[in-house]
């Protein structure tokens, strides 16, 4: 399914980077304000979804630059990895570890929950785009 509309194409092309930036913003502020990995992931996928509707799935895949299933895998790996750090220290699985950085809030605290959230973000993007691209590519 695709729509041949110049307006749509232009909009999509313009929106893509902006939406991605916006999703990054949502992601970062998520720990303190409404937002977080899920929502950010959904926004990012929406950007590519729009692009794929405006152009087609193949071009959207090209712009994405990575196989969506791989993205799922990487997201899951990050989430899982974030749980290992504490195990090396003899603590339970998935315990949050934090370090302080000399940066302004919200960047002053970096910890494994953020890595976990990052995994969530990537996995959501990967899955959503897998859905959408696969459905669009159905003959």
């Amino acid at each position: 399914m695709k729509m041949d509309s110049l307006i749509l194409k232009t909009t999509a092309r313009l929106l893509l980077p902006n939406l991605l930036l916006f999703s990054l913003f949502i992601f970062i502020r998520g720990h303190n304000e409404p937002g977080g990995g899920f929502i950010a992931g959904l926004v990012a996928s929406a950007a590519y979804a729009l692009y794929s509707i405006a152009f087609d799935a193949e071009q959207a895949r090209h712009v994405l630059g990575i196989e969506t299933r791989l993205l799922i895998g990487i997201g899951l790996v990050l989430a899982l990895l974030s749980g290992f750090f504490s195990m090396f220290g003899g603590q339970a699985f998935l315990v949050g570890l934090w370090i302080d950085l000399p940066l302004p809030s919200p960047f002053n605290k970096v910890g494994t929950p953020l890595l976990f959230d990052m995994g969530v973000f990537l996995a959501v993007v990967g899955v959503t785009l897998t859905f959408i691209f696969a459905l669009e590519e159905v003959k």
């Binding site: 409404p34 899920f38 859905f131 696969a134 159905v138």
Partner: protein
Amino acid sequence: MEVILAIVIGGLYAAGIYMLLRRSLVKLLLGLGLISHAANLLIFTAARLTRAASPIIPVSEEAFPASYADPLPQALILTAIVISFGVIAFALALSYRTYKIAGSDDLDKMRETKE
């Protein structure tokens, strides 16, 4: 307020179940969607409603106001929403494939009980 939402929940369940009971595959999918709405709303309502502040600690403060919405059910619902999103996507793909193979979306024709 709970009464109103309880009725809404009942209505959503009724609508969803009715759609599940249809012979048409396509309608069944819509039924699944409605039921998942109903279930989420049920958790939300059963955990008691409040118009109080959302469970976010304002930046200026270190502690939390006395009245707040219960964050735990929200987290649960969020999880449930995302899971049912995945499930519905899969169900859609499954229906597509079934339709392609069976050539019909009449569920009554899909009852290969004997082999």
